[in-house]
Every structure is written in C-alpha cells, then in structure tokens.
Amino acid sequence: MSTVKLTVNGKAVAVDVEDRTLLVQLLRDHLNLTGTHVGCDTSQCGACVVHMDGKAVKSCTMLAGQADGASITTIEGIAKGDELHPMQAAFRDNHGLQCGYCTPGMIMSAIDIVHRYGGQLDEATVRAELEGNICRCTGYHNIVKAVLDAAGRMKVSQAAE
C-alpha cells in the first residue's frame, strides 16, 4: 500500500491504494468518479482518457503511483457549474454520441487535440488524431463534426477570456 497524492479536478486528494492500482481504478473505485470508462483490456479503445498535467493519457495504462504529484482532469472536471464545456456542448448539438460509452474519452482526447492544433484543424486531422478512441455506435461522422464545431467555439471563448 502507498499513499498517492494528486490533484483531481482542482482538488488535492490523498488516497491509500495497493501499488498495482491503475489510475482509472483510483478515479472510479476510490474517488467514485465513474465518468471515466474502461472499454478494453488492451490499451486500445481510449474510453479511459483523462488529462494528466494537460496531456490526454490512458488512465488504464498508468499505475496510480505514476500520477503521484500530478494534476488530473476527468470528464467531471471540465464543465463550469451548469455550463457545459464547449466540447461537451458541441457533442450534444451535433449528436456526437449514441450510447455514450466512448464519449468521456472522446471528449478528453478532443480537447487535447484542439489545444495542440488551435485553429488549424481540418476533418482529416481530426480523424487521424482520434485514432486512439474507438466508438462502436456513431460511425465517427458526428463526432468529427462536433470536434470541428468545438474547435471554433473554443477559439472564440479563449479570445473572450
């Protein structure tokens, strides 16, 4: 057992976990943040993506101990109160989800993509950059539309800040 200290969605937490605990288990089982999903056993589906120090990583492919001292943002941490994050709003408006299983990971990856590319996004780039996130429902079309839509909204809201 070890105590892992990290910041999750802006709040400092200290959690006692077995050393073999994955970051996603710490989030879901110890902090009850069940928005982050687990869709595979092979590190391929991206349902578990969270941000660690601003970078989109697979929380199923990290030990909790590796995140000691880091700042983690999950899907629960991106809205401002009742106001959805522009990426969440764009997924809703563009019908970018059906069952919703892949959505938290999609959204966390998509925000990272927009941060990296800024306004320079086009459809081909979004499709290539989302290759680590698998969706069994939508056929991706509306997800790609949502990300492009959100990229525009995020630019506007950044400019306004």
Binding site: R20, Q44, G46, V49, T61
Partner: protein, 266 residues
C-alpha cells in the same frame, strides 16, 4: 494484475540499485507495453522501478553529426523536438505514425527498443541509421543489440540511458499500419549516410524481428530512386505470415514501403 511494489527512482544509479535489491524487478518507462502485459498477467514483476521522473534520462542533444535521444524521452517529445526535426526528420515522422496520441504522450524510445517487438517502429530506425545504444554499462551497436523476437543484448538489470544516431545525408520511413493495433504490418527505414553508404531496415516483416534488406541496399547504392527498387526480388522465406497478410504480401510490402520511404527521403 498481480501484486507488485512500485518504486519511483530519481537517478540512474538509484534505479539500478533498486533493481539489484528486488527479486524480480522490471523497469517501468512509458508503461505502454509493460502495463498491458501485467494486466493480462503475462508478466508479474515483484517490483516495478519507474524511470519516468529521472531527469538524466530526458531530452535530446544535437552535437555535430550526432543526435542523442535519452532513453525516457517520450515519442511526443521526440516528434515535436526542433533538433530532431532539423537533423533527422524521418525520426520525427516515425514517431508521428507510432501508436496513437495517448500512446505517444507516454511511450519512450528506451522502452520501445528494450521490448523489441517484431512490429515496432524504432528498431528499424536504429538499424538503418547505424545507431548506438548507450546503457549504464556500455555502448552497443544496433546490429548487436537486436537479437530476434522480443530479445536484445541487454543483461538483467542493465538500463538503457540513451540512443545516439549519426545524422544521415538522407533518410525516410514509411509503414503500412495495422488498422487496429497501428503497429507496422511492415515498415521500412531507408538511410544514406554522409559517407555514401546505403542502409535499409524492415520491421514487421521477418519472423526473426527487425532486419536489413541487402538487395534493396544494393539497388539504391547504384541509383537512389524509387524506380531502382522495381526489379528487386524479395524472398518470402522467413517472413511472417498471419491472418493480416501472407509472407508473399509482406515481401511485396517491403518493396513498396522502401519505394515510398525513398520518395519521402528525397
């Protein structure tokens, strides 16, 4: 995953001595191979020694004609590094088609070559460029380092600290990506050294891991152009065959990927 004890090392010396004190330790770099394997219970190290926070294992240095990438530098940091893009853009390109963005944020060059997956990308770059693997004990030429499927010259507890690449005159890498895993169904790295030597390495193709392709090297030596490879015959003997592609298919892919890599190298 079975029980294990996690250690975070802050220096190479500390990592090596922690390894020595444990019964069955493993170094943990990006974790993008080791953790999936531990989750499947195919590996059960008593201790994992995290290299991720060791400063001396991070970063890229360009000095004269040598590009050195420290072992725990992530693919993302390699891909976006100005010296890599300037000195050997083919390596920046290789990292951009390796895995997916989340894998690239975590996976490292040291972990990739220590693992030596027969379909991994970096082994082809090291072999074609004639790189040198630096460890806490010695320097190992790429030729001697890779020893078949998932096996390398590393001794138990030996830690890779860096990889040094001689800057080539020209280099290119192209791969046919497996559509699900994104590993190389076959990938070919071509390089022309500053002294005019041509070296070509293929990954994902051979039953015994990364390999040189002498027939294509000879063709490119006399004529550095994609068309020089048209008439080269690649034998399917010893090549991988599985549900994704026959040995003959891979033999042809070696040619096609080499041609694309030469075009990319210019």
């Amino acid at each position: 995953m079975y029980q294990t004890t996690y250690h975070r090392a802050s220096s190479v010396d500390e990592a090596v001595s922690l390894f020595g004190e444990s019964s069955e330790a493993k170094f943990l770099a990006g974790g993008q191979t080791l953790l999936p394997v531990m989750k499947q219970r195919l590996a059960s190290p008593s201790d994992v020694i995290d290299l991720g926070k060791i400063k001396e294992l991070q970063g890229v240095e360009l000095s004269g004609d040598t590009l050195t990438i420290k072992a725990a530098t992530t693919y993302y940091d390699i891909m976006t590094n100005a010296d890599v893009k300037k000195a050997i853009p083919a390596i920046a390109h290789l990292t951009s088609v390796l895995g997916d963005p989340a894998v690239r944020y975590r996976g490292t060059i040291g972990g990739s070559i220590a693992n030596n997956d027969p379909a991994a990308d970096f082994p082809a770059a090291l072999l074609a460029l004639g790189a040198t693997v630096k460890t806490n004990k010695r320097s190992i030429a790429a030729e001697d380092f890779f020893q078949g499927l998932f096996s390398t010259a590393l001794e138990d507890g030996e830690l890779i600290t860096a990889v040094s690449f001689p800057v080539p005159a020209k280099a290119g890498y192209e791969k046919m990506r497996h559509p699900a895993s994104r590993f190389a169904l076959t990938g070919v790295f071509v390089a022309q050294t500053k002294s005019g030597e041509v070296r070509v390495a293929a990954t994902g193709a051979s039953q015994s891991g990364v390999m040189r392709v002498p027939a294509i090297e000879a063709a490119l030596k006399s004529n550095w152009s994609p068309s020089a490879i048209d008439g080269v015959a690649i034998s399917a003997n010893g090549l991988l065959a599985d549900i994704h592609g026959t040995a003959e298919y891979r033999a042809n892919l070696i040619k096609v990927m080499a041609q694309r890599a030469v075009s990319a190298a210019g």
